[in-house]
Structure formats: C-alpha cells, structure tokens
C-alpha cells in the first residue's frame, strides 16, 4: 500500500492498483495478456501464468512483485506499465524487498537475487545459492539481507557483495519473515519455536526460544517492547522482546491457522485468521476489543492499515475495508469484477 493506493495481486492472473478513497481501479497488470501456463501436453487451458503469493514492494514510484511462475516484474506505479522483468529458476513465494537501488528477492530455485531497481540487471556477480527453496520474505536492514529457507537455515548476506555473513540452522524449516529491531533479529520456525538472535552474529539472545504448538509462518510485529506473532496452532502470542516470556495471561485463540501478519492501528491489534474471521484485540491484555468480523473466506495475505481502516484481501479474491475501531465492514469488493472493468 502506498499513498492511498493498494497494490494487490490476485489469484486470477492480475496485479491491481486500487484507490482506497473511491475504490476505483487505477490499472491492472497482466503479463502477456491471455497467456496461461499451458496445461498438460496442451490438452487443457492450464491456469493463469501470473499468480502472486508475496506482497508487492513499492519504492520510487515503482511496484515490484514476484510471481509464482518465477518472474520478478517492475511496474510503473502510476500506469502499471511494465518497466522490466527478470526470470528466476523457480516459483517466487515470498515478497521482494526494495532498498536503495536494489530489489532483493528469493526464489524456489534456492537462490537469492539482487537486481538493479531501475533496469532489473543482476547486481551481484552471481545469485546467492542455498540448499533449499526460499519461501521467506527477504528483509534488508542496513547493509545486510536476512532471509529464511526451507533448508532449516536462516541466512545473513552482505547487501553489496552477496556474500554470506552468517547462517544458523534450526530444527524446522523457515518460511517466516525475519523481524529486525535494533541489534536483534526475531524469527519463527516450523519447529514451532520463536527465536531471538543477535543480528550481527546469529547467536541466540533468549535463554530458550518461545514454544508454540504448531509452526510459525508469518511476519511478526514489534510494538512497544512486545512482539506479536500468530501461529498455525490458531493462537496469537504476545512475547516480551527482551526475555521471550509471554506477556498475556493466555494466548488469544482464533478459529484457524494464523498465517496473516498482525497489525496495529488506533491502539487495536488486528489479526486475520484462516477461519475467515478478523479479530480486534487489546494489545496490552490479549482480550477481545470487538466481536470477530466474519469475511466468509480464509485470509492468508498480510493486511494494511491506512488511517482508520484496515484492508484485507481474502482467498476468494475479495478486498475488504474494516473500521479499525469497531471492526465494522466499510466496504467489500470482488477483485474479479475489478479485473473485468
């Protein structure tokens, strides 16, 4: 989201730019219009070639998005015109990170790419190769790139040279987004543990990691000394960033896996769950602030807050705007209709 415009990738093969003020479509991007994945031996029409899982990154009036068919696209944020594209060797699941004149993106081919933000040329002598698929978002902090990998490792790579600074192996795969706060890095793993590490060295900070009952696979949120993170065990946890101890008396229980990231607006913690409901929670106590709003479709994508509203995209391809104070649904539009217009 940027300047009152939402950039949202649909599961139907398009990237849309919508104005939140009037819900009008600014543009829709579709690579090679009408092109599909082909289907088996050409016997079927196949699926759309442009499917996105990660969130777009916006910088300097350019939108960057990675698609599941493996291509990174740079689009003009005003018109949706394609500026450049870069093909990786595998599906892109995580979100790209734009920093300075670079775009960093990981691919399922196991490589982390650093591309020139203006022309898409590869910046590093060669992409940083790992031993597994990269589904985690890459995070740039200072001159370092941090990202998790399904090979159970967390990597810190030099932004300028693409060389490894450190790597740390865990018991579970890592598809979560690393959270960097000051000199610390927080990350959740498929081993159901949440870790605090020294960003400089990768050494553990807490005496023992925070333990949940299922995988961590989301982007955590830091606010006022507390980390808020959802888990696939259906719970939302508030963890003391200093010592890894729970802040709330008990975790906040939702009806489904929490893959979407928590977000705070107007003093309310908003969490969307795979049960199709959106929850408004008191960040201090972990108690409910408003009755869960049922959107009737699982929510996996990260939400955005703009002013008094939170925007969410569900798995049935609908965009919702909720009032953050009350949870009241201000509007909802099917993105498929917007694609047709």
């Amino acid at each position: 989201m940027s300047d009152g415009t939402i950039y949202v990738g649909s599961m139907k093969g398009k990237l849309l730019a919508l104005q939140t003020s009037n819900r009008q479509k600014l543009w829709a991007f579709e690579p090679d219009s009408g092109k599909t994945s082909g289907g088996l031996l050409g016997c079927s029409s196949g699926g759309p070639s442009f499917v996105t899982y990660g969130s777009p990154a916006v910088a300097n009036d350019i939108v960057y998005i990675g698609s599941y068919e493996g291509t990174v696209y740079a689009l003009n944020a005003q018109t949706g015109a394609k500026l450049w594209e870069y093909a990786t060797g595998g599906p892109i699941v995580g979100s790209p990170a734009a920093s300075g004149n670079r775009v960093i993106v990981g691919s399922s081919d196991g490589k982390l790419y650093a591309l020139d933000a203006q022309n898409g040329a590869s910046v590093w002598p060669q992409p940083f190769a790992t031993g597994g698929e990269i589904w985690s978002d890459a995070v740039v902090a200072g001159d370092r790139v941090y990202f998790g990998n399904l090979d159970h490792k967390l990597y810190a790579v030099d932004l300028n040279s693409g060389r490894l600074i450190w790597e740390r192996e865990f018991e579970g795969a890592i598809a979560s987004t690393p959270l960097v706060v000051g000199d610390r890095l927080y990350i959740g793993s498929f081993d159901s543990k949440f870790y605090a590490l020294e960003a400089a060295t990768g050494d553990p900070v807490w005496r023992q990691p925070f333990q949940a009952e299922n995988w961590f696979w989301t982007r955590p949120l830091f606010n006022d000394g507390t980390i808020y993170v959802g888990s696939l065990d259906h719970n939302v946890y508030a963890i003391d960033a200093d010592n890894g101890r729970p802040v709330w008396e008990k975790p906040f229980r939702t009806g489904g896996e929490v893959r979407s990231s928590p977000i705070i607006g107007g003093g309310i913690l908003v969490v969307a769950s795979n049960d199709g409901k959106v929850y408004g929670i008191d960040p201090a106590t972990g108690t409910e602030r408003w009755a869960p709003r049922n959107l009737d479709a699982p929510i996996l994508a990260y939400p955005w807050v703009d002013g008094s509203r939170v925007y969410l995209n569900d798995q049935k391809n609908n965009m919702h705007a909720l009032d953050i104070e009350t949870g009241y649904e201000a509007w909802s539009i099917p993105l498929a209709d917007e694609e047709q217009r």
Binding site: L40, L41, P91, F190, S192, N214, W215, L232, E257
Partner: protein, 309 residues
C-alpha cells in the same frame, strides 16, 4: 465424514510417508515404494483371490457363452442360469473387482498425501501443518524432497506413465487365459490394451508420486502372478515364441470328472485333460483353501476319496 477420512486414512498415510522417508535417508520416492510394498503385502490375500477369480472366470467363459446362446430370448432364465453356474462353481462375479475396489480409497488418500506432503504451494503446506503429528521426528522432516531419480514426484511424468502402461499390459497379459473362441479372444485382446490405455490417460495428469505407486504395485502383482502360475502362463508366455499357439481349450478350467454338478446343457470341452490331474493343478493354481481352481473337480475328487471311491 471428512474428519473421519482424515483421521483414519489421510493422516496416518501422510505421517507414515514422512516417517518412512526420513528413515530411508530422506527419499520420498523410496517412502512411496516402501508404502506400496507394505499395502500390497497387507492386501495380498485379496490379490491372490482376485487372480484366481479372474482365471476361473475366464475359464468359465465357454459355459457362460453356451448359456447365453441357449437362453438368448429368455433374459430371466439366462440370469438364473448364470447365477446358478457361479453359485455351483463357488464364485462371486464381483469378487474379481473387490481387491481393485478396496484400493481406490488408498489411491485417493495417497494422491492427497503426495500432494500435501510435497506441498508445492503455500496452501498445500498450510494443510500439511494440520495433518502432521506433533512428533519432532515428523515435524523436522518438512519439507520433503520432491525429486526421486529423474522424477519430480509432485508433477506428472510421461516416461513413468509409459511404464504404468507397460507394466499393466504385462500384468493383464499374465492373468489372461488365451481362448480358442475367436470372439472371446478378441474381447480379451481389446481389454488387454484398453486397461493400460485408460490408466495411462488418467495417470498422465497425476503427480508422478502416485504413478510410482501404480508401477510398483503392478510389478508386485506381476511377481505374485508369476509365483502363482510358476512360469506356465507367466513371463514366458509374453515372448513371441514361433509355433506357439493358444491352448486348445480353456486352460485353468476343467470339467468335473464326476458330473455331480449336473449343469444343464453342459458338455465337457475337448481340451486335453490328463487323468487325475486338471490343467489347474498342472499350472499350480489353487484356491484359498488349497483346492484346485478348476471348480468342482478337486472338490469332487476329495469328496469321493472321503467316501472311499
């Protein structure tokens, strides 16, 4: 119902595959092969029964055709006589299909297991997270490697589909008793090609992990069939040996020496049945009780022996 399916079949299969994969050095392909062997050993009695039933069913064809000819205009009588023939032979006409039918839920669960365990999309991986047991041994084995030999187990593979067709053709060929009746032979020939073609058409659209299961299952079945017929109608029969023709009359089926069954309108086929030994006995085909599959013959002989004949 869906929950029951997940708990009873899907989750044990998903976790079993993950455990086997980890135990077998992190090879999901080896886990599928191991699972196939385990499942096929478990249903071996049914498979053996099916092979026997198929053979016996084919050997009954002349008699069935005779009945069909005789009662062509009386459908009810035809049905009665057909059922009577089956009953007297101690056969269940749907018995042949049962082992195949019982495998359908396994195939469906395996398809779901392969798709979920290999989890090529975030949605699948999310589903997998809810199917895995909380044991660290299982949790730490995620994600599973998608490649095995030259295969991406999550995607269809054309050469493996051809292998399914080839192994299925061989299995069919091994279980088919050549017939002297040209019409029946023509039907058999058609079926022999149709089944592999049908499976090929279906499995070219499925992930090769599932196709691997079918190939291993076919090879397992070939081995069982070969053992059962001890080479007489086994692999050797597939070779185009010059001068070899179909046996004169239905192998695997012989008329009872003592016509205790008293089948109406039945005359023994003109095949070379040796004294005291049926063609089934020669072929080593016996039923689940250790009797000959030539229905009636051994049973009657045994009864007669007991009666002191």
């Amino acid at each position: 119902m869906i929950e029951l399916w997940n708990i009873v079949l899907l989750e044990p299969m998903v976790n079993g595959l993950v455990i086997m994969s980890r135990a077998l050095g992190g090879s999901f392909g080896m886990a599928i092969i191991a699972l196939t062997i385990v499942i096929n050993i478990l249903i071996l009695p049914l498979t053996v029964r099916q092979i026997r039933s198929t053979t016996r069913m084919q050997s009954m064809q002349p008699k069935l055709q005779e009945i069909q000819k005789k009662y062509a205009k009386d459908k009810r009588k035809l049905q009665q006589e057909t059922m009577r023939l089956y009953r007297e032979a101690g056969m269940n006409p749907v018995g042949c299909a049962f082992p195949m039918l019982i495998q359908f839920p396994i195939w469906i669960a395996l398809y779901q297991s392969v798709m979920q365990t290999l989890a090529t999309t975030p949605e699948r991986l999310l589903e997998l997270s809810q199917r895995l047991y909380t044991w660290p041994y299982v949790q730490q084995a995620i994600p599973q490697p998608k490649t095995f030999l030259w295969l991406n187990l999550a995607e269809p593979n054309f050469p493996l589909t051809l292998l399914i067709m080839a192994t299925m053709w061989v299995t069919q060929k091994m279980s088919t008793v050549p017939s002297a009746d040209p019409k029946q032979q023509q039907t058999q020939n058609m079926m022999q090609w149709m089944m592999p073609m049908m499976f090929g058409f279906i499995f070219i659209m499925f992930p090769s992990g599932l196709a691997l299961y079918i190939v291993v299952m076919n090879i397992f079945r070939m081995a069982v069939q070969y053992y059962m017929v001890r080479g007489q109608r086994g692999l050797a029969s597939l070779l185009p040996i010059p001068g070899r023709t179909a046996p004169p009359e239905p192998q695997g089926w012989a008329p009872p020496k003592q016509p205790k069954l008293k089948l109406k309108g039945w005359t023994p086929p003109a095949g070379p049945v040796k004294e005291g030994k049926t063609t089934d006995e020669e072929a080593g085909i016996t039923n689940s009780e250790g009797e000959d599959s030539g229905y009636g013959s051994s049973r009657i002989k045994r009864k007669n022996r007991r009666r002191g004949h």
